[in-house]
Amino acid sequence: MARKVVILAGTKKGAFILEGDALRRAWELRGPFCDAWPINHVIADAASGAIYAGGGNEWFGPAVWKSSDLGKSWSHSSEGLAYAEGQDPIKSVWCVTRGNGSLYAGVEPAGLFRSDDAGETWSHIEGLQKHPSRKDWMPGGGGLILHSVIPHPDDDKQLWVAVSTGGMFHTGDSGKTWEPRNKGVRNDYLPEDQRYAETGQCVHSVVMAPGMPDRLYQQNHCGMYRSDDGGRSWESIEKGLPSTFGFPSAAHPRDPETLYLIPLNGDVLGRYVPDGKAAVWRTRDAGRSWEALRKGLPQENVFFGVLRQAMATDPLEPHGLYFGTNTGALFASADEGESWRCIAEHMPVITSIETLVVDG
């Protein structure tokens, strides 16, 4: 039976689903789902086929939406998705991650929740709030958000999270205690002698290399980095890239040496693609060298950016690569970034892209 790719898009006006044909050339767009709520992240649980969409509505607060039939019907829950009375209420869900047998939700203001019943109810992982640096975490442009959760593939007690701006943290005891993992990561917004602080870095996205749980790649507000020791130390890999700024990162599904980034021109220069020309940048040697992938991408008067969760791969061979822009365009490559096509335009601001493979 042919395997088909389904693209899951979060947007400022709901979740969308695009179903591809077997060649990944023709795509059918459906949506908006989730009552057109602002949705920050849509994921799929490959095992069950369930789709989860995390977001928050100006009126009704945060929720994780769920569909078990590829978007035909949806339910929503925020039971337990709350801090203790008197604390700042949760505005929205920023990321949803499956792993360690659980479902995790990162929220704004920054915190981490876990569901052990497939999103029906949630419980707060309070240990992170007890980290001494918590009082110093500051909101970035998107708010004070916990936007990345990386479960260890082989050890269900280990988890990495990233907070903008608080930095990266790791737990080895299922969230009871947390340790900063930011050594070597620069913060250009502190006095010169404090630029390599223990915490406070503005992490934009983090991904794990396939088959190498100790290898993490990070796109930061201030540079691109690789760690080969589970985040204990980081090495800059920004040399050869057109800027030190960007949001998303995507790891190759099988090759731990290959990473994709979309550098933008800079944080105070408009945050669009450099020189008005769109490119995805690829390394095949873990960040030692970079090449721009432009074929099929617009190369004139391009002023879009790509947000932190808006790039993803699929697991096919060769793998697909997808990114959505803050101007509502969705680009797809079926050949590992060598060539690109625009497969949707005029969507709302795209906040996230993920994929699911289904038989059909």
């Binding site: 009552d35 100006e58 009126w59 009704f60 607060g61 929503h76 829950s77 925020s78 039971e79 998705l81 709350a82 801090y83 203790a84 009375e85 008197g86 604390q87 209420p89 949760i90």
Partner: protein, 95 residues
């Protein structure tokens, strides 16, 4: 859960955007509750999850939700009176 057996009966008018989130809910419902907070409890017992959509964990009525009792913006502790009509409205917001 509310303990409002002797509480006044009121009519609650709900916004369409909220009703659409809860299959089976209706735009106008009669219930008994002594305060706005208890009214939210009563709504939640009929349609689980509805309280969280209208009240945050502070706890207070969500910033962009307005509850009007006898024509005035109410808080969770605002008392309800027999036969009254309570309007739950979404505030002007969005983007």
């Amino acid at each position: 859960m509310p303990n409002d057996t002797a509480a006044p009966t009121v009519t609650v008018v709900l916004p369409g955007a909220l009703v659409s989130l809860f299959p089976g809910s209706v735009g106008e419902v009669e219930l008994t509750a002594s305060t706005v907070g208890h009214m939210l409890d009563a709504l939640d017992s009929r349609w689980p999850g509805m309280r969280d959509r209208l009240r945050d964990s502070t706890p207070q009525i969500r910033r962009n939700i307005n509850v009007f009792v006898e024509g005035r913006r109410a808080a969770l502790e605002t008392p309800l009176t027999p036969g009254g009509k309570v309007y739950v409205l979404t505030a002007m917001s969005g983007g």
